[in-house]
Symmetry: C2
Subunit: 413 residues, 2 copies
């Protein structure tokens, strides 16, 4: 490194300060294979090397360079590893041992940090579901009758989850033209969905539901998700069995998984629910599973919206309780995406279809450009922060993707 | 073994004769960990041990005791391994080396033979889709407008795919009662879906569609699938995003994957399609991807129906072409289930909801018992055979499951 950092090696106020300590995985020149890591300021700590040297009994968890081992190890180990990291990165006595294992984040290539087991995309924002309901079913009730009784979700495609920065090739597919004809070609209504993802750690037992009170034993942390959506492909294919290829060409996730242990100051009560949900989903009086995470959606550097995650109707704890209520198990690496995060006003909408009223009202970008849906070359960045201790902010990093023409090799493994 | 088998070690006419050679994975006393295997007659050959001894350059493929390595190795290796197996199990000169590696199938525990990557359930039978459409939308067109233009499918839950023999605990869930109230409790409309699954071997390149003509490079083999379905849970949850928990508590698969190389004599032209599909799905004049697989569905030993797989409208090659048409990749271990296999007449229906007209007309079982949907204790077995060389039959084995009360530990890993 060109200059020795202070200790802790993060500038005051940095979103990846010593209270964040998000986990990731990288490849770099001079490092063999993949390495698990943790971010501190603008540096990354090689966690595969650090545990081998300083916490050898936990080194096997990180030997494969991913977070898979840590996820499955359970809450006691999560706490132990985080406590060790906090010591190493805040107590200057550890500096001589730790400093050689730090490298600038700019020098490494961050990879998908864990193996995605089952990926479920929920639909947990009342504002988003209402907005889409009004667009798709203008004459009916915007919310389907089940919406306030269960957290609606569907299984997505794990094999097309990619890490932030991976280019997103515009998908081709079947769609109806404006004239009603059937066509095959590049999507003309390519959209984003700004979401928050919860990563499952500890597996559950098949056949045994996970009650709300046990969610903290299973949910490890959060990442940011852009669930790219081809609205024209989706509209044609999704009746009667739900979204398929319109949402299965790429789902981008941030490279950092922020452990829930870092988000204690961000916990807030979720909005009131009416009607009160069935007992297995009724979180009244329990630990709050809302999170005051503020998202920012930018297109080519211009801020489009600031979706508030605190407004989500259904929590990840409820999603876990619902998912396991019928006997399904969860596994380490299961990913629950929240569904598009949208607040009550347009400046808080998390998708272009909402921001442009179904493509009817183009957004005006600086420089006079207009946008309904995404054009080739557009770059979308979704970032987020949340309250930390003493008025600080915890960073969640960002998820970034640029649209490239159909058929462009995107290089994801 | 109690008696030395003849060579080849399968009785003439056995469905697992030397032309079948299906692949699986087992655990057994006296064998360390899991072992890849191949079935011959009523025996299994330990393929992990056999390749280590007789084909060491391919032994790494089977070292983990699963088929994962073989699946990803591609068609040239598939052909090489099958040719070696054929030599070992038909040429008596190999008997001294091979015989010690055989053990009775009855002495081993067959496990899930490969790691399920993404699981997609299609909806490829026109008869089934029409029957369900009539039940669910009695006043409308039984097929949705997209049905004949694309192979409709949705992503299922990989983590609840279980091997044949695993007990199936009746799921609980939200449902509407007959009086229209919301209830939570054990499903009262637990059904089967008799399906054929295609297992992907060679991965595809992200962003690069797999044309129909290349399907044989990627599709490795077939298994049998029972996609257990809780119709009451499904009916309440599935609008607007498709089936979720009503089909995510257990999906049973047969323990044997029959390679497509064994099914050459079963290939038949699929039914004529009207309208002709878009060019990327138009298989006119190409290699036929229909298969004359005859299924048998039994409930407590009584045959309910004989669904003909040859009647399926969409083929696995078309499903692969469609799935990759927008840029999604496939990975080794991806599983395409066909959707319920139903023929045109009731004796060929592959689900109870069709056989009982939505539960309105109970089936009468021998002994005078009546059935609409499944009761606790019921055992369902789906078996299948297909034409082999010289008038023989290739066996696909069977997928078996017994319904146990909600919350019963089912022991799947």
């Amino acid at each position: 490194m060109s200059a020795a950092p202070a200790w802790p090696p993060a500038p005051p106020g940095h979103p990846f300060g010593p209270h964040t300590l998000p986990y990731g995985s990288f490849r770099a020149e001079g490092a063999e294979g993949r390495r698990a890591c943790v971010a501190i300021g603008d540096l990354v700590l090689d966690l595969t090397a650090a545990t081998a040297a300083l916490l050898p009994e936990r080194a096997p968890l990180f030997a494969d360079g991913t977070l898979d081992g840590l996820l499955g190890a359970g809450p006691a180990v999560w706490a132990e590893v985080r406590a060790a990291l906090t010591r190493w990165l805040t107590d200057a006595r550890h500096r001589p041992a730790v400093e050689p294992l730090l490298r600038p984040a700019a020098d490494v290539t961050l990879t998908l940090p864990f193996t995605v087991a089952d990926y479920v995309d929920f639909y947990a924002s009342e504002h988003h579901a209402t907005n889409l309901g009004r667009l798709f079913r203008p004459d009916g009730d915007p919310l389907t009758p089940n919406w306030k009784h269960l957290p609606i979700g569907y299984h997505g495609r794990s094999g097309t989850v990619v890490v932030s920065g991976t280019p997103v090739a515009r998908p081709a597919g079947q769609r109806r033209t404006a004239g009603g004809d059937l066509a095959f070609g590049p999507s003309e209504r390519l959209d984003i969905e700004a979401e928050v993802g919860f990563v499952v750690g500890t597996p559950s037992v098949p056949g045994r539901p996970v009650p709300l009170a046990d969610a903290g034993r299973h949910l490890f942390g959060v990442c940011l998700v852009n669930d790219w959506s081809a609205r024209d492909i989706q509209a044609w294919e999704y009746v009667p069995l739900g979204p398929f290829l319109g949402k299965a060409f790429a789902t981008s996730v941030s490279p950092w998984v922020v452990p829930l242990a870092a988000l204690g100051h961000a916990r807030v009560a979720p909005p009131p629910r009416d009607p009160r949900p069935l007992p297995y989903l009724d979180d009244t009086g329990g630990e709050p599973w809302g999170f005051d995470i503020e998202l920012t959606v930018t297109l080519n550097g211009h801020t489009l919206s600031r979706p508030p995650f605190a407004a989500m109707y259904w929590t990840a704890a409820q999603q876990l309780a619902h998912l396991t209520s019928g006997g399904a198990r969860v596994r380490p690496g299961d990913l629950f995406a929240s569904g598009t995060v949208s607040g009550p006003v347009p400046g808080q909408y998390g998708s272009l279809i909402e921001l442009t009223r179904g493509g009817a009202v183009p957004l005006e970008l600086p420089g006079g450009e207009a946008r309904t849906f995404l054009r080739d070359g557009d770059e979308v960045v979704i970032g987020a922060t949340a309250p930390g201790p003493d008025g600080s902010r915890i960073g969640l990093g960002s998820v970034r993707g640029r649209i490239v023409p159909p058929g462009t090799p995107t290089g994801h493994a």
